[in-house]
Amino acid sequence: MASWGRTAPENHHHPPAAGSDPAYRRGSLRFGEPVRRNPRVLARLGAMVEGASFYPFLSAWDNLAVLARTLGHYNPARLHHLLGLLGLGEVAHAPLVRGFSTGMKQRLGLAAALLHDPDIIVLDEPTNGLDPQGIHAFRAFVRRLVDEQGKTVFFSSHLLNEVQQLCDRVAIIQKGQLLAEGPLAELLGRYAANRYLIEATPIERALAVLQAHVPVHPYAQQGSTLVVQADRAQVPELARLLTEASISIYSIQPQNRTLEDLFLTITRNTQEPPLDEPDLAALSG
């Protein structure tokens, strides 16, 4: 389970680093009040949890109106604004929501989450079921929320590539346990494995030479490339060793880690044994 949050602007209250604050663990935010069933705090939160759910027999407008009235703040101008903002103005009154595509429902879900102009918006797997265009539009909209309106968006997703493209801060939670939290760049740096991708021939000799000096990841060996784990300071020495062994070097480049790598690294020791690492050489051969 991956979860990340966008850093809040300086002038906003924002959640503490989860796990570091006992009050947070008890279910509090830094609004100074307990969160659970607290209308004052809930009024500052907007959420779309487990996809967008609506009354299928009502129109988009009526669904939002029902939610707004439930909240006690029915404002037709706000409904009109939100539906227009999310590109649902044309379908506000027809068809009924049962005729909406998944993307339209997700957009309506976002409108519902923003209904009362909350400070914090919690989005749980909001891109599920969206096509690439829909995901792109969604991402752009969320960025605008954050950059232009100063909202704090908590985004919970298993789509780590999506998370990496959109988020500033990341928290990795597994079975309710916070395993890591911080700015994405910092986390990627902190957990960087100092891996280098070396393209050389003959690869078998290169492997033999390098194995004597640094850890080599045989599973990452593919064709004429292999991955080694080494400090940056070791790289010239490795190049020299390979050259002295008459091995042709085509490139040595740092292997950038992705959020997925980070996630797998962090969770590897805490979950059930992973599937065997694939032998890419064997797969390609």
């Binding site: 009354y55 939610l67 006690g72």
Partner: protein
Amino acid sequence: MTNPTWQLFRAEWRKTTGNRWLLGCLVGIWPIAALVISVAILALVLLDSRAAAGLRTEPTPWTDVSLFFWAIPNSIIGRLLIVGFAAYLFAGEYQWGTWKNLVTRRGRVTLILMKFLTLGIFMVAAFLGTSLIWMIGRGIAQGIVGGSYPPALTEIPPSYWRQISLQILTAFLSTLTLAGVAALAALLTRSILASVLAGLGAALLDGFLGAALILLYIVTDQRFFPSLYRFSMSYNVDNLLNWANEGEATFVLGNVTVRENAVFDAIVVDPPLPGNGLLLSLGIMAVWAGLFVGLSVLAFYHQDITT
């Protein structure tokens, strides 16, 4: 009006009226039935002179006509439709996954009580509308045949107001109890079908309770068993209607008639068990309604709706 409670009621109302087919089948069916029967009677009096003569010579007072449909919640079909409507209102939110949208916006107790209020208003409005249509339909028929439609507004007997108010109160409490059972089942099972079945089961169980207690009385000869029936919903509904129409209590299980057969002779509780007073019956009905509504609130308050 921007009062938050009023807004919440409007939201509940919009949700309920939004599903027109379901609303028509479960609630609208009563006024529709009254309309159809009224039209049929009109056609009959227009086409059949004997029927018209009968209506002219023996007019039914509109005060009696107005009481007719308030017995709906005590019929099996009435109970089925009430339970179905309650199940739809409460379990529907699980089916559509919409509870999670609501509980982040308002307190749970308020949300659930507003549902009960909406349900009660819908049902009472439906019965009221049905009675009005029935009264007007019969009035038109009386007018066509040239008969009278007594009593005049100035001659309404004082007992009528007691009758109609008790009928409405009984219908409301009976509806609320059934709705409470269905709601509790809906909240626990999260299924419309399961809550309909549970609600019907409870209604049938209440109906069979009398027979079971009679049987225990026969076997044990203990008056304690039939006297338990005075706490049942069925008895108290009957008793309240008796208070409304006759101005007196009905004996506990005293109106049970068992046909003579090879196993049992005609059975009565002898001497008869005196019936509940009006206030006691109202109190017992209120306790039943309050119990199930309260349990529903409790169940919903402690429920994790995200699972």
